[in-house]
Symmetry: C2
């Protein structure tokens, strides 16, 4: 076993495997993981507790993610509830499911009690219904009532993201009143960033920065230090819109209000970082033809299930392509060389379609591509496609002419390539826009769907031109 510096030197910060990232606690690295593996195998509980005490929850989660499931569960059982709760949040989805499965409702209650309301809801929503009921029953009535309320919001909405712990003060109060509100909230959560000022109807009237509270006299009126220029979201706003709003306006926190504009929760930056990450991940997966939330730790069976559906869509499409080809059997029989350029026609159409669609899908997801700009966008895409098709058409003409010395055959392939690229680009840019208008996630159908339909269309165009012009 290699020597592992568990306690960092006071003067020399501990360096993680990413050079330049420093921490006053031990960070997870491959060597530490190796040590832990051996200790877990030896069930060296005392030594493990000693190491765990000096790790951050995110690093413990990292280590658990890399261990076999049984070992991970054993290690998880060693954690005290306050640590276990944070670790559970940081686990990869598949590992979290496997850990939760083995926990008793009693242990889950102990963990949930340690969490802020938004995180508690995340854990609760992953439980089987009857287990969730058992957990809710063992919690304090206040806590369980609050959780039940939060669970009613959609998981992907502002209500599902928000924490319900925040300080509020009456708009006619003073800085001292606001500080007292902070003190009360601080008993429940370490994360206090601002104070909401409300009027007699409970409506949100202003937001007070903690910094401003520090710098004014205790008797300063709330209305003098609050910012009444507020952006807020209702509980039912989709998390992707929440992320876009926070990113657009550079917001650290965002108040969530009910129908009456009364604050009911707060969304913080860290929830949003995960949303941005997840939404991008989801777009990439869907564009790559992967369903489900498969991640790097998924089992073979989950990988299979996540990928088969789109491969089947592609399969069906390419059977259609085979059918198209079989209808041109005579043409191919006469000009066998025509078959050699099937791959380039398919690939160029496929690539051009994906290039166009990925820009449109991301533009729609981030709100950068406003509906008012879509027509201009389509015109530009078409223009670029004509340019690209002409350039590549010229190139394929030269290749075919040099190869076969047949200018008419070269011209036929070149013309087909130009039309295929232009068509594929227009299809690639239009399909996501149409899906978006129909309220279907554009990323979902974009990847394999566009590629496959472009394959069949492209072959039809190619062999159509061959029959009409060349033969």
């Amino acid at each position: 076993m290699t020597q592992q510096p568990i306690m960092p030197d006071e003067e020399e910060p501990y360096f993680d495997s990413v050079d330049g990232v420093q921490s006053s606690t031990t960070l997870a690295d491959p060597e530490l993981l190796e040590d832990m593996r051996e200790l877990v195998a030896a069930h060296a509980t005392a030594a493990l507790l000693n190491i765990l005490a000096d790790l951050r929850s995110a690093d413990i989660a990292d280590i658990l993610n890399q261990l076999p499931e049984d070992d991970a569960r054993y290690l998880f059982e060693l954690l005290p509830p306050e640590e276990a709760s944070e670790v559970l949040l940081d686990l990869q989805d598949s590992m979290r499911e496997s850990v939760i499965e083995e926990l008793t409702p009693h242990r889950i209650s102990a963990i949930v009690e340690e969490l802020d309301s938004d995180d508690a809801v995340d854990i609760m929503s992953e439980l089987d219904e009857d287990v969730a009921e058992q957990v809710l029953d063992t919690l304090e009535p206040d806590d369980s009532a609050e959780l039940r309320e939060l669970l009613a919001y959609g998981e992907d909405t502002a209500g599902g993201l928000m924490a319900t712990e925040f300080p509020e003060v009456h708009v006619s109060g003073t800085a001292q009143d606001a500080i007292e509100a902070v003190r009360k909230t601080a008993e429940d959560t370490p994360d206090v960033y601002e104070v909401y000022a409300i009027d007699e109807d409970g409506k949100l009237r202003g937001i007070i920065d903690l910094k401003n509270l520090l710098l004014v006299r205790a008797d300063t009126p709330v209305s003098d230090i609050m910012d009444s220029d507020i952006i807020s979201v209702r509980t039912d706003v989709d998390q992707e819109d929440v992320a876009n709003v926070m990113r657009k306006y550079d917001l650290l926190t965002l108040p969530v209000v009910d129908e009456e504009n009364r604050p009911v929760g707060i969304i913080t930056f860290d929830d949003i970082a995960d949303v941005i990450h997840e939404e991008a991940q989801e777009d990439i997966s869907r564009m790559s033809g992967i369903m489900d939330d498969t991640d790097t730790s998924s089992s073979i069976w989950n990988i299979f299930r996540g990928r088969l559906p789109w491969l089947l869509v592609g399969f069906a499409g390419e059977i259609l392509a085979a059918f198209v080809l079989s209808n041109f059997e005579d043409a191919i029989g006469k000009v066998l060389a025509a078959a050699f350029f099937i791959p380039i026609i398919m690939a160029m159409g496929g690539n051009a379609g994906i290039q166009a669609s990925s820009i449109v899908v991301r533009g729609l997801a981030t709100g950068e591509l406003a509906l008012s700009k879509t027509f201009r966008r389509l015109l530009r895409e078409t223009g670029a496609a004509l340019l690209l098709g002409s350039a590549l058409g010229l190139l394929i003409f030269l290749v075919v002419f040099l190869w076969y010395g047949d200018a008419r055959f070269g011209l036929t392939v070149a013309l087909a390539l130009l039309v295929v690229i232009t068509n594929a680009t227009i299809v690639g840019a239009t399909v996501p826009l149409m899906l978006d208008r129909m309220n279907v996630d554009p990323a979902l159908a974009t990847g394999p769907f566009i590629t496959t339909s472009n394959d069949a269309l492209g072959l039809l165009i190619y062999l159509g031109f061959l029959t009409l012009i060349y033969l």
Copy 2:
């Protein structure tokens, strides 16, 4: 012109086009944009100033992004420097370039002076060298010296992201000293989130939460309220690693330190939200075969330049595929039907390769896929590929058998499909891993590169099997 409610009703919050997002100021929406277009066309300066005064900078940027360049520049000129600086940051890249081009060094100086150091550097780094020099010369000596220092850091490093405005206090001081430090910093920037406690050598010893400062007596020692459990990054850490660290540990802010562990800057959540977004965007673009930073507002020429390189790579690969096919001319001539299944062999290999590579690329980008797990990952990918290949192989056997009544032909195509899918998956998972070890961005070569090489390899496998088994 439709009636546009410029001032929101006190009681009724103004609703944006995203239902449920509320703001006390006017938000950009298609109707407002239409009005602005007409006013800009009429050069109705007074009316425009009136509207602009009630918009947030991010919304003004939204509107500029949608206007023709000349109109956008005209509107930008109307903005006072403090507003112009924020708007400039929020513009899309291509529009920002076009606006900056037309600004005088004097106006740029006025804008840069309004910005926090990190944002000022972002603008400076987009200027031509001689313009940047002119701007630096017109700034206060202190400001220009600081900017020169920041400009020396790489744009994509912690040093390039950080702001240099932060409060610091000696570790032997009191809460009152910390509050004074906050007061001093607040003169320069509205964004103050925490106070750094340093020792006599200037080394970072602890971090004080503003909330804690609010809740203790003024004479409380700094050492009693500071958190000495610190994560920090050195100035040279890559922004993607910075984003991963902040996301992993749910950090609102992250201190940046020099080689001696002395704090030199602070990175905040909002910089990181953009990094996460940009990195995901970059991965998607590269995986889709788009170079350069083309976005939804790029010109035809930029689209062309961004896409041509990868299409050329694909072109070269598919010419290779044509060459492979031409070498099997006899086989295809004998079994013309073999040509009909070229598309399905290519498409299934391509899709399977992209599915495998996209998971690996994203896992590497986010740090979820640790090197210690790569071998296990490859095994699982291979297992899943064998399952998928078998399922689809069975299916194609049935299709071919029912179509041609030729079991041996069906078996040949099925076997080829199984091997092609397995091979494509292994290539798709391995290439990004290899590129990562060679310190090349895996996303860069993943999309078209893997698809293209899988096409040529797949055809070789398919026609090889056809020749060996069937003919």
